[in-house]
């Protein structure tokens, strides 16, 4: 029995208990708070260590060898921390809604935790699929739009993510088959890793498999041009689902690339055609989606598109593949998750109170809701990448990580991409500050009135903002969990 | 001399007639009768094979017993089928196959 199994099981059990009739809010808040404490405990235990810890394995099948194996290293713990923080905030901010909101939040969070904390490819994949189902259902059933539109949006997301998952499955099966070499099939990540070290695949094959995995994982992370499900889905999804999916579940694809694709296919990303394709796609994320976000006329559009755009930076870290850049990518995953969850949470509140999110109808909210404004400013400046909030540390490490191999003669493709991507930082400042200015600054718009949330309703947002501030001023807190080289 | 070929030609014609009726006719009772005709064609073929397949100098009676089974089952099928048709007629006031579309998606 490992503490990780308890962490995975708790939200799922709580969901079951609510289905059987337990009081929804109490059960889900209780389970997630205990979970947060447990994850913090594992983080403290793991502090400064390296390698895989808290491992435990329950064999299920002999051949193909399959077992329910859990284990965590720094990346998993950071992502588990992200999951529990966002889950607690998302559940806490639910107000006056039926029990299915709690159940679906618990299932999404529990599925994500399962995906991050198990070390068997089969279960990593299965847990992610488990978490996707309530996402689709909640968008279709409780989305914030006309029934016909929200159903269409849910279908779009389902098809994109479903096809993406299928491509991913094909890639994973290919990967496992290549490594098994005809004898015994294994899905165990550690076993595959040691095999990849002993006899790595030839570079051209690595490139092919990596590309398939990139497409599969990429469409789960809204990699350009497989992104067009994301913006409408986030804009429509009910608040807790938007927080959890954009904040946590979307990171699964990136986690998979860092956890499965890069260690097993270390040369895959450096083969020229794969790298060029990846760079083009991530530039699409950053530059194209950056301009699309600038064009947005409503806050939900801005946030949803910006969330797609920021994925480009994390892909940039993966494309570099150096230790510094990958650690930056993990930090940015954490930071983006917290900041976008904060923004989506606040957005939900605005939508409930004001009924509109169009910029030309809003204005001057800072006059009546100062605390809300401050919280929103944390999210805004975090996504702009202001130093002192976590996103900056992630971004700067990614940029620097691309420049560790430098020839005075000239820049590589990767480095030119970084320079173009830096312009994206300017663009994100443009759209976030425009949004902030038209919502909060100026004189109050007539007919719109918003007050600060009550203190108890502020807690989840304060928690997220404080996380951004603390890990932003002390990013070494996160780096200390990732002592081992990636 | 009547050979197996003659049997089979008659059986084939009978079957084709039945099939054509099932495909072309609208009246459900006629469709049903054509269906029976196709069964009879199969029976005829079986009997023909039985007659010309000698085992120890005798015809192969296995096939003939199979024909009896078929006739029995067909009789039972007629009973059930006609009952369904009567019930359909009562609810629809029609024996046209196209009128029964309730289970169509």
């Amino acid at each position: 029995m490992s503490v990780l199994e308890i962490i995975i099981a708790l939200p799922l059990l709580a969901a079951l208990a609510i289905w059987l009739g337990a009081p929804a809010r109490a059960a889900s808040l209780g389970a997630t708070s205990i979970n947060l404490i447990l994850v913090l405990y594992t983080a403290v235990q793991y502090w400064g260590k390296t390698g895989l810890a808290f491992t435990y394995s329950r064999p299920i099948l002999e051949n193909p060898s399959l077992s329910f194996a859990v284990g965590a290293d720094g990346i998993s713990i950071i992502l588990a921390l992200l999951t529990t923080l966002v889950m607690l905030a998302a559940i806490w901010q639910i107000h006056d809604r039926p029990a299915i909101f709690y159940v679906s939040s618990l299932l999404i969070g529990g599925g994500a935790l399962g995906a991050f904390l198990t070390t068997d490819i089969f279960f990593i994949y299965a847990f992610h699929e488990l978490a996707l189902i309530p996402t689709f259902l909640m968008i279709a059933l409780h989305g914030r739009a006309e029934p016909a539109y929200r159903k269409a949006v849910a279908w779009k997301a389902t098809i994109y993510l479903g096809v993406g998952s299928l491509v991913l499955l094909a890639g994973l099966v290919w990967l496992v088959l290549e490594f098994s070499g005809g004898s015994k099939l294994t899905f165990d990540l550690e076993a595959l890793r040691s095999q990849a070290k002993l006899n790595p695949l030839p570079d051209s094959k690595q490139a092919q498999i990596f590309f398939v995995l990139l497409l599969g994982f990429g469409s789960l992370v809204s990699l350009f041009p497989f992104h067009s499900w994301a913006a409408p889905a986030y804009a429509t999804a009910p608040t807790p689902v938007a927080m959890l999916h954009s904040g946590v579940l979307k990171k699964f694809g990136l986690y998979g690339l860092i956890r499965i694709a890069l260690p097993l296919l270390p040369h895959g990303v450096h083969v020229e055609w794969v790298q060029n394709a990846l760079l083009l796609m991530l530039l699409g994320n950053i530059l194209v989606m950056g301009l699309v976000t600038i064009h947005a006329k409503r806050l939900d559009d801005t946030l949803a598109n910006s969330s797609v755009m920021h994925m480009g930076y994390i892909f940039l870290g993966i494309a570099a593949g150096t230790d510094i850049a990958l650690k930056g990518a993990v930090i940015l995953m954490f930071a983006h998750g917290i900041s976008i969850a904060l923004l989506f949470g606040l957005l939900g509140r605005m939508r409930n109170q004001l009924g509109t999110l169009e910029y030309n109808k809003l204005g001057g909210l800072a006059n009546h809701a100062p605390a809300f404004t401050v919280l929103f400013a944390f999210g805004t400046f975090a996504s702009i990448g202001l130093p002192g909030l976590t996103n900056f540390a992630g971004e700067v490490l990614i940029f620097l990580g691309n420049f560790t191999e430098f020839k005075a003669g000239g820049l590589t493709h990767l480095q030119w991409t970084v320079i173009l991507a830096l312009w994206g930082v300017v663009m994100s400042a443009v759209y976030m500050l425009r949004a902030y200015r038209s919502i909060f600054h100026g004189s109050p718009a007539t007919g719109l009135f918003m007050i600060d949330p009550a203190l108890s309703q502020r807690v989840p947002f304060i928690m997220l903002a404080a996380t951004l501030l603390v890990t932003g001023c002390c990013p070494w807190l996160l780096l200390n969990l990732m002592k081992s080289a990636l | 001399m009547i050979t197996l070929g003659h049997y089979l030609v008659v059986s084939g014609m009978l079957f084709s007639l039945g099939l054509a009726g099932v495909i072309a006719r609208r009246n459900i009772i006629i469709v049903y009768m054509c269906l029976e005709m196709m069964l009879s064609a199969a029976n005829l073929a079986l009997v023909g094979f039985s007659r010309f397949h000698l085992v120890n100098g005798l015809p192969d009676y296995t096939a003939q017993s199979l024909v009896f089974f078929t006739i029995t089952v067909a009789a039972a099928e007629v009973a059930v089928g006609l009952a369904i048709i009567v019930a359909l007629f009562r609810s629809k006031q029609s024996v046209d196959v196209e009128s029964v579309t309730k289970l169509q998606g």
């Binding site: 700067v396 620097l400 420049f403 560790t404 312009w423 300017v426 200015r437 002390c474 990013p475 780096l479 | -």
Partner: protein, 628 residues
């Protein structure tokens, strides 16, 4: 210990106030002012403890991966100690002045919180021991500037101005970051100032890179300079500074005149070894500085808002300093040694004197605005000399220092240093343009003084103006003292002002600066004495060469139109190719196969029959021919 007090005290003050100012109420002001007093004392101790040993110390960890470190390092040397004094001294005076100026403002705690945040971030820039730390605080001063310009965010103009300031700075930071990345790559992952300089002097990887590909060093230097262009508001990113005057006047004095905008110059002097390595970069830097100086001085001659005149004057003086950085680098490239026992730098020295008299001028204008009930148009003032004598005299001292009254004021000495550097640079345009700027400076400042203080009151509010309270006068008087004496060795040496070694001034330079002073002053007195409205009207200057309008068009075309087009393309092409096209194919296929399953019993039977026939045909006629 000392440095951690100086750096972290304002941080905690800012955190406490900004997050809890509604609970703290009046205590917030005390915390902020208290922290600035303690910081000032700590800075004095730092100056006194100067043992002339420069060192870089680790203060706090930040990023640490394997061999790569980007921590909060503190670099203590003459330059940072001198700058620290300016920041903490003027910061303290501005805090005190604000006690009076912001007395009636409801959001006073928020103001003081942002002020503390600014003190923290500015301290960080000054003490930064490596480029990444400098970038961190570089962005943070941008944030505090954003908060302070947008202090009266209800006003649309203030809300737009703070956004503009932040975004313009972001464009500069874009270049700055590229420069940092290039240096990071060239110097094998080490971006501390000490190591970068050593890499040049003692021949590290950076030195080799310069030998093999000098272009990349020029690129790095220019990218770093782009950061300074944003922060120090040089052409073409100068447009944010005049708009930043929407902030409260004490803020303009501290941030947009004395300290933050000078951070660009401070940073350039820090990396002067880099600029000296690249002749092209040095020329471009000098050229941009010179161009900004002349351009801004021309704009200043036609402004009517008292704060805007001062803002353009700040732009112009910053251009002067940047020009000096380039000119000194060019001088060094011609084989002259600057790094002697006295590493004075004319740009840093002008920064030092300018900080005092420009802060004085801004605080003085704040006093006027306060007394005239927030009237800022100089043509609606007049005759204030009699109503506000102390303000008048201190303001006059500041003006004379800025104009460079020969021998008496500090501004004369520092300006003469810059003109000397321009003269030595070997490029006569720099010297001529510098002299022209000096003429224009004298002209517009004298115009301001004559119109605002002399003549008769032109409006009611000017008529009823009365002297401001003592708490606002005290900073004025102190700054007036510094404006006169700060260039004297008795002040400059203990304050470690990086005063250039005293060489006998070139006669040409001396003559030029005195002539510039006289011509400018005389012209202004001749034109503006006793006038009630502007006798000169040059639309081009008054409208700031239409830069704002041009940029608005560029932003509209290059950004908003482009965004519109890209959004449309994204909808049509990406969604079309990735989503709609496959959807359409699948839908067509579905419709085709759907025909086969129409739910017609007889249709199925027909297919069944066809199938049977096909099977029989295959078995009887095709299979035997295939080898059986």
């Amino acid at each position: 210990m000392l440095t951690s007090i100086i750096l972290l005290l304002p941080f905690f003050s800012a955190l406490l106030i900004l997050l809890g100012h509604r609970q703290l109420k009046g205590a917030a002001v005390l915390i902020s002012v208290g922290s600035s007093i303690i910081s000032f004392i700590a800075c004095l101790v730092l100056l006194a403890a100067a043992d002339d040993k420069d060192n870089t110390k680790l203060l706090l960890p930040f990023l640490d991966i394997g061999d790569f470190h980007a921590n909060i390092d503190v670099l203590i040397d003459k330059q940072s100690r001198g700058m620290m004094f300016i920041v903490s001294f003027i910061g303290l005076l501005v805090h005190i002045f604000s006690l009076g100026y912001m007395k009636d403002d409801d959001a006073r705690p928020r103001f003081f919180g942002s002020l503390s945040l600014f003190m923290f971030s500015m301290t960080g820039i000054v003490l930064a021991g490596n480029l990444i730390m400098m970038f961190i605080f570089w962005e943070l001063v941008g944030l505090s500037s954003y908060l302070l310009i947008g202090h009266w965010y209800q006003k649309a103009s203030a809300a737009e101005a703070c956004k503009k300031a932040f975004l313009t700075n972001r464009i500069g930071d874009f270049g700055f970051m590229i420069g940092i990345l290039l240096l990071f790559g060239l110097n094998k992952g080490d971006v501390s100032f000490d190591n970068l300089r050593d890499a040049f002097v003692q021949g590290g990887p950076l030195f080799d890179a310069q030998k093999s590909n000098p272009g990349i060093i020029t690129a790095a230097a220019l990218c770093i300079f782009m950061g300074a262009v944003g922060k120090s508001a040089q052409f073409p990113l100068h447009v944010w500074l005049p708009d930043a005057m929407e902030g409260p006047t004490p803020v303009s004095a501290l941030i947009h005149a004395a300290t933050m905008v000078a951070a660009g110059v401070y940073m350039l002097v820090r990396v002067s070894f880099l600029i000296e390595a690249s002749p092209l970069a040095a020329e471009i830097i000098a050229g941009i500085g010179c161009f900004t100086a002349v351009l801004a001085a021309l704009m200043a001659t036609q402004q009517n808002d008292i704060k805007r005149v001062l803002a353009y004057s700040t732009l112009s003086q910053l251009g002067y300093m940047v020009m000096a950085v380039g000119a000194v680098a060019m001088h060094v490239q011609h084989g002259h040694e600057l790094h002697g026992p006295n590493p004075g730098h004319p740009a840093m020295f002008h920064l030092y004197t300018h900080a005092f008299f420009k802060a004085l001028l801004f605080l003085g204008s704040g006093a006027i605005i306060y007394a005239c009930h927030h009237e800022q148009d100089i043509w609606k003032m007049g005759g204030l000399r009699k109503h506000m004598p102390v303000t008048f005299w201190t303001f006059l001292i500041g003006t004379l220092a800025l104009m460079g009254l020969p021998w008496i004021t500090s501004g004369f000495w520092s300006k003469e240093g810059i003109l000397g550097a321009a003269y030595d640079s070997g490029c006569s345009i720099l010297f001529h343009a510098g002299t022209l700027t000096a003429v224009l400076t004298s002209f517009y400042m004298m115009r301001l003084v004559i119109v605002a203080f002399f003549g008769k009151p032109r409006t009611e509010s000017a008529h009823h103006a009365s002297e401001v309270p003592l708490i606002m006068l005290l900073p004025l008087v102190l700054l007036a003292v510094f404006s006169i004496f700060s260039a004297w060795d008795g002040f400059a040496t203990p304050l470690q002002a990086l005063k250039p070694a005293h060489e006998p001034p070139h006669t040409t330079v001396l003559f030029a600066s005195i002539a510039a002073f006289l011509i400018g002053t005389g012209g202004a007195i001749y034109l503006y004495r006793g006038k009630d409205k502007d006798p000169v009207s040059i639309k081009l200057f008054a409208n700031k060469f239409y830069f704002d309008e041009i940029y608005a068009v560029i932003v509209r075309i290059c950004q908003d139109r482009l965004a519109w087009i890209v959004t449309a393309l994204e909808r049509v092409l990406v969604d079309g190719l990735v989503a709609r096209l496959p959807t359409a194919i699948v839908a067509r296929l579905g419709a085709a196969t759907r025909m086969l399953q129409g739910g017609h019993l007889q249709g199925y039977t027909f297919l069944l029959g066809g199938g049977v026939i096909a099977v029989i045909y295959l078995v009887v006629f095709v299979l035997p021919r295939l080898g059986h």
